[in-house]
């Protein structure tokens, strides 16, 4: 095993051999071809050596890469290029012995050499770091490092980098487009063939801005279409500068830029990231393997963010490991992680923090006092901590603070009003709950499987809030806090309507809900209906009304009888003379489906089924606008009567009301379950 490892370590040594040998053979071959002589070395032998060492290099490289010291995208590329080179060199050696066309062979050799060089390059990048060959471009910001934004030189530090990047590629001594030179101050002052380039203090008449603002379809629009264009914020910045500056030597402070420009300038000058060490990827991966949720913010920045989900626990080991990156960590989210004041000392080590969330921990102002080095902090989240008004004294430790979260702390509005904050600081004390006003409690739910019962039924009433008090009535009246308090299931022996509502401290009493429970003492033996229900909604025929099954809110569930635009008359035969004191029937209301509840009902009784005498007539109010789909039970109480036949005449709505989407159209009456008690 160790031997194999050693073989891997020899990779940097072996790899130079094929490079040297193959390139020597290649150059020799090229040279003799050029001077049209015969080769003087043994090319075949050289190719054989080359391919043996290529293979050894590739093999040792694979061993080396598997032990995990190297990683990244480059490794992948290097690996495959290496393998390709090795295989290519075998082919080359094999091909040389059978070569027909010398020129073709030389071409193939060239490809292998290119592969070889590329492999070498990617390998070099792995050891020496990416971009070790490239000469740094001028950064997309400032060339000189600036410690203090207010002292930055507007022209040199901010204007020139933009113009150099986007204009000076044509307006320089080599190209001299329009006789305008923009790489030096002299050129700016001199202007070009059209005239002066800019007039400081006059943003209206400066050629630079005129050209930039021309529509891009215009020929004279600058930069010309196809070239790198100025961004909106860059134009805004240039416009501001030309309008505000008197001469080219102004600093940011002298011109006191407005907020949006200030932000632009800040984005260009970020002195804080200049000296930050690069992230050591393998170290980072090692920490991630230990379960520390740390992530690089983005591929171009040296910053890291650590985000523990709420309620996680952080061990000391993890914290100590993060210390290896103390300068890189920019955001630290440690909400509800059992932090205390003592641990804040460690957090003070993360000097480049801009966001710190230590909410929902038992932290006091004294802990915050320890955060003396976090002078770059912009966001501080302390909600639900134990900080108090003494915190105000420590806020000066965070000169750049922009957002401060103090909801559910001991700090009051009053405490804040005594301190003067800079305008740019947003302090959150929590949302004003009064916005939501008095909130009405949800109504209780009446639980009862069947609503038609024979002898008795037990009804339960529930509420989602366990602290809610439930009140109810059984006499049809509206319940209040003076009504019966619900404790145990209600046992009903008679047809009853339960009305109920709930109250809870701090909430408005709920709406009323009601439900009827119908006692079916006598089952009619026969049921005649005039007219017949519509054939589409005939369910199981006349029996449907007396089968003990109630229809649901779905009109098509097969338990409803539907009648189109007609009153309905029902004659029930009780089989023998019975004592009756109420008759009830169910109706559906679903205005979208053109189904309305009835307008009235009349009960007549007869002992012979022919001569009926009216005992009760009721009218019902119709809905005057859209209303929910609902099943309505109509209970008609009548004086105790002995009878064998009961006639129930129901007066229907017949036509859609005016407010309906289809006013005047025929509408329906849907009936179910007639219950006699």
């Amino acid at each position: 095993m160790a031997l194999i490892q050693l073989f891997g370590k020899l990779h940097p040594l072996i790899l130079h051999l094929p490079i040297g040998i193959l390139i020597y053979a290649y150059l020799h071959l090229g040279y003799v071809n050029y001077i049209k002589k015969k080769e003087t070395i043994d090319i075949s032998f050289a190719l054989l050596l080359g391919c043996i060492f290529s293979l050894l290099s590739a093999a040792s490289g694979i061993v080396l890469s598997n032990n995990g010291t190297y990683e990244g995208d480059g490794l992948e590329v290097h690996r495959w290029l290496g393998i390709a080179t090795a295989i290519g060199s075998i082919g080359l050696w094999y091909y040389y012995k059978r070569v027909q066309n010398k020129h073709l062979f030389f071409g193939v050799f060239t490809i292998i050499v290119v592969l070889l060089v590329l492999t070498g390059h990617f390998g070099g990048s792995l050891t020496h770091g990416e971009g070790f060959l490239s000469v740094e471009d001028a950064p997309n910001g400032v060339e000189n490092e600036i410690a203090d934004i207010s002292q930055a030189h507007v022209f040199n530090d901010l204007v020139m980098p933009i113009v150099k990047r986007k204009c000076a590629s044509c307006h320089n001594p080599k190209k001299k487009k329009g006789d305008l030179l923009l790489h030096t101050l002299e050129g700016w002052k001199k202007g070009g063939e059209t005239g002066p380039f800019i007039t400081l203090g006059d943003s209206e008449n400066s050629l630079l801005l005129t050209r930039v603002h021309l529509p891009s379809s215009e020929k004279k629009h600058m930069p010309p279409s196809g070239k790198l264009q100025l961004k909106a914020d860059e134009i805004e910045f240039l416009e501001w500068w030309i309008g505000a500056a008197d001469d080219f030597s102004a600093t940011v402070e002298m011109l006191s830029p407005p907020e949006n420009i200030q932000q632009f300038i800040q984005s260009k000058i970020d002195p804080s990231s200049a000296n930050i060490p690069k992230i050591d990827k393998s170290k980072l991966l090692a920490i991630q393997k230990d379960g520390v949720p740390v992530q690089q913010i983005s591929k171009d920045l040296p910053w890291l963010a650590v985000h523990y989900p709420k309620g996680s626990t952080i061990n000391n080991k993890a914290m100590n490991k993060l210390m290896a990156f103390d300068e890189n960590i920019r955001a630290l989210h440690l909400s509800e992680t059992n932090l205390n004041d003592k641990e804040l000392e460690k957090i003070n080590r993360f000097q480049n923090l801009t966001t710190l969330d230590i909410s929902r921990n038992s932290i006091t102002s004294k802990g915050i006092a320890k955060l003396t080095d976090l002078n770059k902090l912009e966001v501080l989240n302390l909600y639900q901590t134990k900080v108090d008004k003494s915190l105000m004294g420590y806020l000066s430790q965070f000169p750049k603070l922009k957002q401060l979260y103090l909801w559910q702390t001991n700090i009051t509005e009053d405490d804040l009003s005594k301190v003067s904050f800079s305008n740019s600081l947003y302090v959150d004390l929590g949302q004003d709950l009064d916005v939501f006003g008095a909130v009405q409690l949800l109504p209780p739910t009446i639980v009862g499987g069947k609503t038609i019962f024979q002898d008795s039924i037990s009804v339960e009433i529930n509420h989602v809030a366990s602290n809610a008090k439930i009140y109810y009535t059984l006499d049809g009246s509206t319940p209040s806090a003076n009504s019966e308090l619900y404790m145990n299931p209600i046992i009903l022996y008679k047809t009853k309507q339960i009305n109920t509502m709930a109250t809870m401290e701090g909430w408005q009493p709920s709406k009323l809900v009601s439900k009827s429970f119908l006692k079916s003492t006598y089952l009619p033996t026969e049921c005649n209906i005039v007219p017949e229900p519509n054939e589409k909604y005939a369910a199981n025929g006349n029996v449907t009304l007396i089968n003990g099954e109630k229809g649901s809110e779905q009109f098509s569930d097969g338990n409803w009888l539907g009648f189109s635009a007609s009153d309905v008359s029902i004659i029930l035969n009780m089989g023998e003379v019975k004592e009756v004191n109420s008759v009830s029937f169910g109706c559906l209301q679903d205005y979208r489906s053109y189904i309305f509840k009835p307008l009235g009902a009349t009960i007549s009784v007869s002992t012979n089924g022919k001569d009926f005498s009216e005992v009760k007539s009721e009218t019902y109010a119709q809905i005057t606008g859209p209303d929910d789909v609902a099943v309505k039970d109509f209970i008609v109480e009548i004086p105790f009567t002995t009878t064998q036949y009961i006639k129930l005449e129901i007066q229907a709505q017949k036509k859609n009301p005016k407010w309906h989407a289809d006013p005047g159209a025929d509408c329906w009456l849907f009936l179910d379950e007639v219950v006699v008690d």
């Binding site: 992948e76 590329v77 913010i297 989900p309 959150d428 407010w659």
Partner: protein, 490 residues
């Protein structure tokens, strides 16, 4: 011998070998860039799945870490909620001019209609907040957060019926089969927590139209990505996540043992067949085991104080309502769930719109506003992107007969309104405009792909580079278009 077996043994076939070695330097580089290279050891790839995601390092510094998407399914009427069009009152009952309609295709539901009578909103509009954002009196609470949200009035889509339109919003394609937005993000960004799924889904039914279209669960499907990334639906029932509970008589210890054994067998199987779905399955069993304790904990909203229920509205006490889901969304976000997708159904008001839209608005108004305010006071709004919106808008004319105080509106893909809050979106602005008829966009159109591109940008992803190769093609959430809307970025 058996070609497939050989390929399996080498972990690669001839084509892939050639593509990767001699011919395809680019392929090799790309493959490793986008994490389909399979170069990482299994352990590393698991860690990456957990915290890093396939993208590893992001293209941009992300403004948002997570998304709460309050999807209003059915197509809420922008004309009743956000887009104030006085002209429609003046021209009430008049036919929609042909030069405004410009041949817009209609749904089968109103294409037979003889006339298209314009109708304005019966609700009163006013400007709210310092930003002066227009909203109707159906949104009394959302109007309180006018300065915290960015209202986009110029959304437009390509689809005209519900399922293709929602599928388009969620997956970037009208045809089913692509991964949902949440799955893409789960795949790309990975998880921020150990014991909850990265992508969770919460459904509620609206009171405006109780029996509206259902939603297919493929809307939160993983498409061609690993099934690890599919959305997990949390239901308002005794078992919030189906099939999570241990069977009777099995305790947790026993379960653990069983899972370990099953995992060992599955590992074996994975080595033999190399089907990535097997490793996905191992991870899912593991996640399910962890969720056995984490899910009951997160669903136990009883631990929330009373004022939180008042804030989200009384309905938040009732599991399964939109308000309860909004509250749950916040709890999930706090626990590190990357993408919480809510769907509130019932916005499809072809008839009786005035009544139904009021009920729907009441369902969602308070809880949506409360969610934004609650995130804000917790300091979470900065890195949480909240989105409110449906799959398309509704027409400016009445579908069916226009009566004195009743009408309906048909689907309208050419313009509709959504709002976004937090996550680095500029607060207190209104972006885009529609014409006086509220029919066409007159300024700054935002296509669904633009919206998706912007969403990804806020999470640090360049939507053009984030691809997944499947069946020989690289797929993106934004397909082949989409531009980041820079003007709405803070």
């Amino acid at each position: 011998m058996h070609k497939e077996i050989q390929e399996r043994n080498y972990g690669m076939n001839r084509r892939a070998f050639l593509a990767k070695s001699a011919l395809g330097i680019g392929t090799a580089a790309l493959a490793s860039l986008f994490g389909c290279g399979g170069a990482e050891s299994q352990e590393t790839s698991r860690i990456i799945q957990r915290i890093g995601g396939a993208l590893g390092n992001l293209d941009f510094a992300p403004k948002a870490k997570r998304v709460i998407y309050l999807f209003q399914s059915g197509g809420p009427s922008q004309l009743e909620l956000f887009d104030h069009k006085p002209l429609l009152h003046k021209m009430r009952g008049q036919n929609l001019p042909a030069e405004i309609r410009m041949g817009q295709r209609l749904t089968g539901m109103s294409s037979g209609q003889e006339s298209f009578p314009l109708v304005g909103s019966p609700y009163t509009f006013a400007q709210h907040g310092k930003s002066g954002t227009w909203m109707s009196d159906l949104l009394p609470y959302t109007s309180k957060i006018a300065d915290d949200i960015c209202v986009i009035k110029s959304m437009h889509t390509e689809a005209i019926n519900h399922d293709p339109a929602i599928t388009f919003f969620q997956t970037g394609s009208q045809q089913p089969g692509r991964p949902s937005m949440g799955s893409w993000l789960s795949y790309g960004l990975g998880s921020m927590n150990d014991n909850l799924p990265t992508f969770t889904v919460l459904l509620s039914r609206g009171t405006g139209r109780k029996f509206g279209q259902p939603l297919y669960n493929r809307l939160w499907g993983n498409g061609f990505l690993h099934s690890l990334h599919q959305g997990v639906q949390f239901r308002a029932a005794k078992d919030p996540v189906l099939y999570l509970k241990d069977p009777k008589g099995m305790d947790r210890k026993e379960r653990r043992k069983m899972l370990d054994q099953v995992a060992a067998l599955n590992e074996l199987q994975a080595q033999q067949f190399g089907d990535p779905e097997i490793t996905s399955r191992i991870a899912q069993y593991e996640m399910a085991y962890k969720m056995q304790t984490s899910v009951p904990e997160i669903m136990d909203v009883g631990t929330e104080p009373d004022y939180i229920y008042k804030m989200y509205g009384a309905e938040s006490m009732m599991p399964g309502t939109y308000a309860a889901n909004a509250l749950l969304a916040r709890r999930l976000a706090e626990k590190g769930v990357r993408f919480v997708q809510l769907y509130h159904m019932g916005w499809d008001h072809h008839d009786n719109l005035p009544d139904a839209v009021a009920k729907q608005a009441k369902d969602v108004d308070q809880a949506s506003a409360a969610l934004v305010m609650d995130l804000k006071q917790r300091g979470m709004l900065d890195d949480t992107l909240v989105i409110w919106g449906g799959e398309f808008g509704r027409t400016n004319y009445s579908q069916g007969t226009l009566t004195e105080n009743n009408f309906g509106r048909d689907h309208h893909p050419r313009c509709f309104t959504i709002w976004m809050a937090g996550g680095g979106i500029k607060p207190g602005i209104t972006y885009g405009e529609t014409d006086d008829f509220g029919y066409n966009i007159s300024k700054d159109p935002v296509h669904v792909h633009d919206f998706q591109a912007t969403l990804m940008h806020q999470l640090g992803i360049n939507h053009e580079k984030f691809t997944y190769k499947h069946q020989g093609r690289r797929f993106r959430l934004t397909d082949v278009s989409g531009h980041v809307i820079n003007d709405i970025l803070a």
